[in-house]
Each structure stands twice: as C-alpha cells, then as structure tokens.
C-alpha cells in the first residue's frame, strides 16, 4: 500500500500544542505582584497530560524575564500548590470553585477549557469558534487575584467580563 502514514503526533497533541502556544504570551503579558517575581515561574497542569508535555517541550528551557519556566503536572487536586499559572482541564473543572480562595490568594492565573467556568473563578477560558482555539477573559477575576492583564490579551479575547 502506497501510504506513508500520518505524523506520529496525533491530533490530540496538535490541539495541546495550539493551547501551549498561548502560554508564553499569557506568562509575559500578565503582571504579577512583586512577591511572585522571583524564583521559578511555575506553570501547573491538572488533567491534560498532552498539554503538560507540550509545555515542557516548548517552555522548559525558556524564561520569563529572569524567572526560568518550571512546568509541573498535578495528578491530584491535593498536589496543587502555589503556581503562577494553573491550567485545569474540563474534566477537572470542579476544583476551580473548590480551590478558588487558595488560587486567588496565590495570584494564580487560572486557565480553563470549559464553557461557563469564568463564573466559578477562572480568569482565562479556551473556546473554539471558527475551528480555532481562542479565549475569553474575566478581568474582574484577574483583579481579585491582583493580576494585571496586558492590553493585547484583553483586545484579542473573544469575550471579556
């Protein structure tokens, strides 16, 4: 059979890569309080192994200013500790509300992947209009977490609360 085969990387990996490409901008175009501007810049991933792999692949050798990126995969909700960015997969989205207070205290930029989850405390939520990966934004949740969202993020969000 004259069929050379698809890339070994599956479409699931491609979708994870679509999301991963946003994280550098989210990390560099959001301003954190001073006390979070030293040491590693920690990105936690809960519930999406492919995204974790893509973030490791794309960011683990980069820095946000002087802060080296550190990508952490959480296998249980109890493992989740202070991190600058936390991605929560749609299958685990219940922890957005259950961990809301801790995440807010730690100025964690919560990124999710489920419609309607901004009301539970998420700050950036991926949505998929027109076959593309885009995002909606809750500026009010960001403010509550003492995060300042950059202009480009605000202007390119498909919806801003």
């Amino acid at each position: 059979m004259s069929f050379t085969g698809l890339a070994q990387n599956s479409a699931r990996t491609a979708v994870a890569a679509q999301k991963a490409l946003f994280f550098y901008s989210f990390a560099t175009q959001v301003d954190w309080p001073e006390k979070f501007k030293s040491g590693n810049f920690v990105i936690g991933v809960y519930g999406d192994k492919e995204l974790y792999k893509q973030l490791v692949n794309k960011l683990s050798s980069s820095k946000r200013g002087d802060q080296p990126f550190k990508i952490v995969e959480y296998l249980t909700a109890d493992e989740i500790k202070g991190c600058h960015i936390l991605y929560i997969d749609e299958t685990k989205s219940e922890i957005v509300s259950s961990k809301r207070k801790t995440l807010k205290t730690n100025s964690t930029l919560v990124i999710t992947n489920k419609r309607g989850v901004l009301v539970d405390g998420s700050i950036i939520n991926f949505v998929y209009p027109n076959k593309m990966t885009m995002f909606e934004l809750s500026k009010s949740n960001a403010t509550k977490s003492k995060l300042v969202i950059g202009k480009q993020i605000s202007s390119l969000a498909v919806a801003v609360e």
Binding site: T4, A7, A11, T13, A14, Q18, L21, Y24, K58, M132
Partner: protein
C-alpha cells in the same frame, strides 16, 4: 546473418549492383553480416551524400542500424546516442516516404524505441533517480507522438507519476525543514494524477496526508516566543492546511470508506478543528474497525 530487415527490393539492389555500391548498400551489407560499426560508418556517409539522403530507405536503414546498436549496448544503454539517432532516422524516413513504403515498419520501430524510454522510467523509480524517471516519461511521450501526435497513455502516466510523487514525499519526510521543495513537487505531481483520475485513491490519500502532517508540524515545531496575534495567524495556517487535507481525505473516504488510515486522518482533522460531532462519527467508526481510539 542478421534477419529482420525486410526490404527485399533493397536487398536485391545490394546483390545486383555491387560494382557501383552506394553507401547505403554498403551499410546494408555490413548490417547483414552483423558488422554494426561498419554499417554505422557507411550509413553515416550515406546521409552526407546529397543524393542518398533524399531517399526514405537510406534513413529507414539508418534507423535499423542504430536501433540494432542500441539493443546491443548493454551497460549504460540508455545513455547511448544510438537510440536518439535511430528515432531521428525513422522519423526522417517517415517524412520522406511519400508512397508510404516503409511507413508501418518505421512506425513500429519508433514505438518500440518509445516504449524503451518508458521502461527506463520504470527502472528509475527509486529515491535516487526519480528525476530521470520523469525525464524518461517525457522522452517516451515525445517519441510516441512522432507516430501519433495525440498520444497520451494514462496508465503509463499514472504508473510513473504516482510512484514519483510518493518518492518525493519520502524525501520530504526525511527532513521536512530542509526538503520543502519535495513537498511542493509531490503535491504538484499528485495533482497531475488527480487531473487524469480524480478518483485515484492513492493520490487523494497521500495528498491528504501531506497537508495533515504540515498542519500538525506547524503547531508542534514552532517556537513559543510568539505574540497572541502571531499565534492566531499560525492557527489560521493550521486550519487552512487541515481543511486542504480534509478535501482529499473526504474524497479518499468516498472511494474506500473502510480504510483505517483515512478514517484516522478524518477523525484527527475534525478533532483539531474542534468539530466534535464529526470527530465522534469517525472515531466511533475507527473503534469499530480496529478497536482503537482515533487519536491514540
């Protein structure tokens, strides 16, 4: 004694007029004695002679002599100039032969030599000589059109072009960053095949694979230091390529709805385009076919 030169009139002339033998008569005698070097030398003199070179049979004989030389050349046969000299001679004979005395044999000989180019093309269908394969196909067509100006053999075109496109695709896959030109080449040739035969499964499938992998690579191999605007632009390119892939894969699916590679590609494409219902349809079909998840 060489057989097969079936021009009794000329034979008679060579045996009766040896006292004043012309160059072509000398060539014919050498040819019959299997002395091809001697035959070539004499027939080359014949075509320099202003009387002899106006005769269709001079060129007819020259064609057979060089055809015999070509057939006798074993190593690097296709580089031998004898074949092109033979073709040129038979074509010239056809032009001069107003009575059509040698027409059938000239045409058969040209066709035989034309087919030899096609056979060369088939032999060249490997990773290192694919360009020569296509050149041979071109020479085949040019030669066959000396006999029939409308000559076009779809099966022969497809046989060489399909395999060529697959070879270029393999070269591209060897190093996708540096071998972009082979992506373009394979797409171009698959499209030529599809212009001949829009239902060609292999051309549709492999064109779909090329664009599918290109779409995925765009995302996987891009460095992360992009602005959000650049990420959006990159995604647009991803979507465009995935949609191109879908066009070919959908056609391939209409030809063979049970090919796991096609179904996997369709499931993957719809997954990456976030078209959940269509992804589910093809993923379920794949599960039934081979019991695996379309994205694993």
């Amino acid at each position: 004694m060489r057989k097969g030169l079936y021009i009794s009139l000329i034979l008679m002339a060579t045996t009766t007029c040896f006292a004043q033998r012309t160059n072509w008569q000398q060539a014919l005698m050498c040819y019959q004695e299997d002395s091809l070097d001697c035959a070539a030398m004499s027939i080359d003199l014949a075509i320099l002679d202003s009387n002899e070179n106006k005769a269709a049979y001079t060129w007819h004989i020259r064609g057979f002599i060089y055809k015999a030389i070509f057939k006798k050349t074993s190593a690097k046969r296709e580089r031998s100039p004898a074949r092109s000299k033979a073709i040129e001679a038979f074509a010239k004979s056809l032009d001069l032969d107003e009575a059509g005395e040698f027409k059938d044999n000239n045409m058969k000989a040209i066709e035989m030599l034309g087919v030899s180019f096609y056979n060369d093309g088939i032999r060249h269908l490997n990773r290192f000589n694919v360009e020569a394969a296509n050149q041979s196909l071109e020479k085949h067509n040019i030669t066959m059109r000396l006999v029939d100006p409308s000559y076009f053999n779809e099966e022969r075109e497809k046989a060489i072009k399909l395999k060529s496109a697959i070879i270029y695709m393999a070269r591209y896959n060897d190093n996708r960053d540096e071998n972009q030109q082979y992506f373009d080449k394979s797409v171009e040739i698959f499209n030529e095949v599809l212009e001949m035969d829009s239902n060609n499964f292999i051309a549709n499938l492999n064109s779909g694979v090329l664009y599918h992998n290109l779409a995925v690579d765009l995302l996987l191999e891009t460095k992360p230091e992009l602005t959000i605007l650049e990420v959006m632009q990159l995604q647009e390119r991803h979507v465009n390529n995935m949609q191109r892939s879908l066009k070919y894969m959908t056609k391939a699916y209409s030809i063979n709805a049970n090919h796991p590679g096609v179904i996997r590609a369709l499931a993957g494409a719809y997954y990456s385009l976030h078209e959940t219902d269509k992804y589910e349809f093809y993923n379920q079909k794949l599960l039934k076919l081979e019991g695996s998840d379309g994205n694993e």
